[in-house]
Symmetry: C2
Subunit: 315 residues, 2 copies
């Protein structure tokens, strides 16, 4: 329907975002089955765990060609992650948090399709020059790691679309068909949706985390840790501790010390809603039910068509 | 075309935002002539100046019924501003920065239409209960004064639309037809556009300010002064001074002392790009030409229709 569904073997131009501790093989397989890109978030996985999730995903879907791996380019193990995934049959990769030049040529030589995540337009041309097939442009409202320039999806998408010829996927602030229609109106060829998929039957988020998404209000999240790595998180006790430090003018080192180790796992996978780090997008405020990925995707498609119909008669 | 153009006597569901030192009688009249709501920003005006601009606007347009006044509910003079404007024939008011209950009933008794600006969904129901006719919901990316919860337009509009039955106008991050189409897709019945109108022939912004809009990049603005009144401004020397204070953990009092008096006038009207406060939305990065309000509105309408057509064939 869009250039995204021409490049990727999808029924709908929708990507289920790779999310640490949330999108394992089960969610990715359900997404692929439902006609969208199912993404395993490899950021938190060692090689054994990644192999387990890829094999699980492949075993659970009749559309393994719709599976992808999200790889933050932060670790020495990155090359091993790519090689393992390729060996197991994965041909679509989403890279993030690093320079698009690092692995794109090599991945293309292996016959893979490469999507790269950016949070500002500066890297857009570099993605195109590096041979990236599709750009995912993620706005300030998105959950988890984020850019320093705080550019929102409304502004970011037209800027990136104007900067490059390759297709652009919009991410950040999208949880229903209105958001999808809006993203397409801004010039995106598809959307990546994260937080909405936390509250699905197949997500591996802890129930406490799912409930936090379902109960979130518009002011339940905030972009923090700007002196270190900006991340949008739920306003819980851990957030309060970070805020206190930041308000007092604390340094990056003090923030890293407070963050410590294992906070994200404790929060999102193990359900520690007090001391854990819970990554969540602003759009959680629009998420009201926990349902199967299949039902969710069907609803998103119907809602998008409805929004576009309404729009057509409005102007 | 939308419920906005049924309530207000407009050709297109577009509001030219009231902006201090930018939208006087000349810009408001040009906007009204072009078929949209022309708004005089009264925030910076004493009564004499407000009278001058209202009379000027009325003398310059054949559609005085499309003129409105934006009144931040911050001052003792507010009641006098309303009475003066009503005496001169104005019947549309945009109130902001205060509680919608303050003047709405009284304004409705005078036969006026009331629009109220909010930055989060909490006040939406209160607007409806107070008798407000139309809500303007303004996202984090907007220039000038902003909300504390940093809710972006993509997330804010669906939340407010779901919360009330009265029409919602989207503001923040909109400078072209893609943005207008996106806002309508999100459920808005119209848009308010600010920064784009700074760079028009009829705006009273200093040329240095206009040029700063034309030359802005995606990272040229930032939301600052969060411990006092959050405001999105151009990253100039004044911004650097604010940032230094904020990074060191400065108090609200220290920020107020740095802000001093007359910074906004010095910057936006008098062109002091070093020590002045220049209010600007993120979307300045999409503004590339200084043109007449008439040309701009015609282009916006064509672009919006084009975006909606494209969308219709995409999904």
């Amino acid at each position: 329907m869009t250039s995204l569904t021409k490049i990727l073997p999808l029924k709908y131009p929708i990507i289920q975002a790779g999310m640490v501790y949330v999108s394992g093989g089960k969610l990715a397989a359900a997404a692929a089955e439902a006609g969208i890109l199912g993404v395993i978030g490899a950021g938190s996985m060692n090689l054994e765990l990644l192999e387990y999730h890829i094999k699980k995903a492949i075993s659970l879907t009749s559309h393994p060609e719709r599976l992808a791996i999200n790889v933050p380019l932060l670790y020495a193990k990155n090359r091993d992650q790519f090689e393992l995934a390729i060996k197991l049959g994965i041909r679509i990769f989403i890279t993030s948090a690093g320079h698009p030049k690092l692995y794109t040529s090599w991945l293309k030589e292996q016959g893979c399709t490469v999507l790269h995540v950016i949070s500002g337009p500066e890297l857009a041309l570099k993605c195109q020059e590096a041979g990236v097939d599709i750009i995912i442009a993620e706005g300030f409202e998105a959950g988890g790691h984020n850019g320093r320039d705080e550019i929102t999806t409304m502004v970011l998408i037209p800027l990136v679309v104007d900067a490059v010829k390759i297709p652009v996927v919009a991410a950040g602030g999208i949880a229903d068909g209105r958001g999808i229609a809006a993203a397409l109106a801004l010039g995106a060829q598809g959307v990546q949706i994260g937080t909405r998929f936390v509250a699905t039957l197949e997500s591996s988020a802890h129930d406490h985390f799912k409930n936090a998404v379902l109960n979130a209000h518009s002011n339940s999240t905030m972009l923090m840790m700007k002196k270190y790595v900006p991340v949008r998180l739920l306003k819980n006790k851990f957030y309060e501790d970070v805020k206190k430090l930041e308000d007092s003018g604390a340094s990056s080192e003090e923030l890293i010390k407070l963050l410590g180790h294992g906070r994200a796992k404790a929060g999102m996978l193990e359900g520690d809603m007090t001391e854990g780090e819970i990554e969540m997008g602003q759009v959680a405020a629009l998420v009201k039910d926990n349902l199967s990925t299949k039902e969710l995707v069907e609803r998103l498609v119907l809602e998008t068509r409805h929004s576009i119909q309404e729009l057509h008669s409005a102007f």
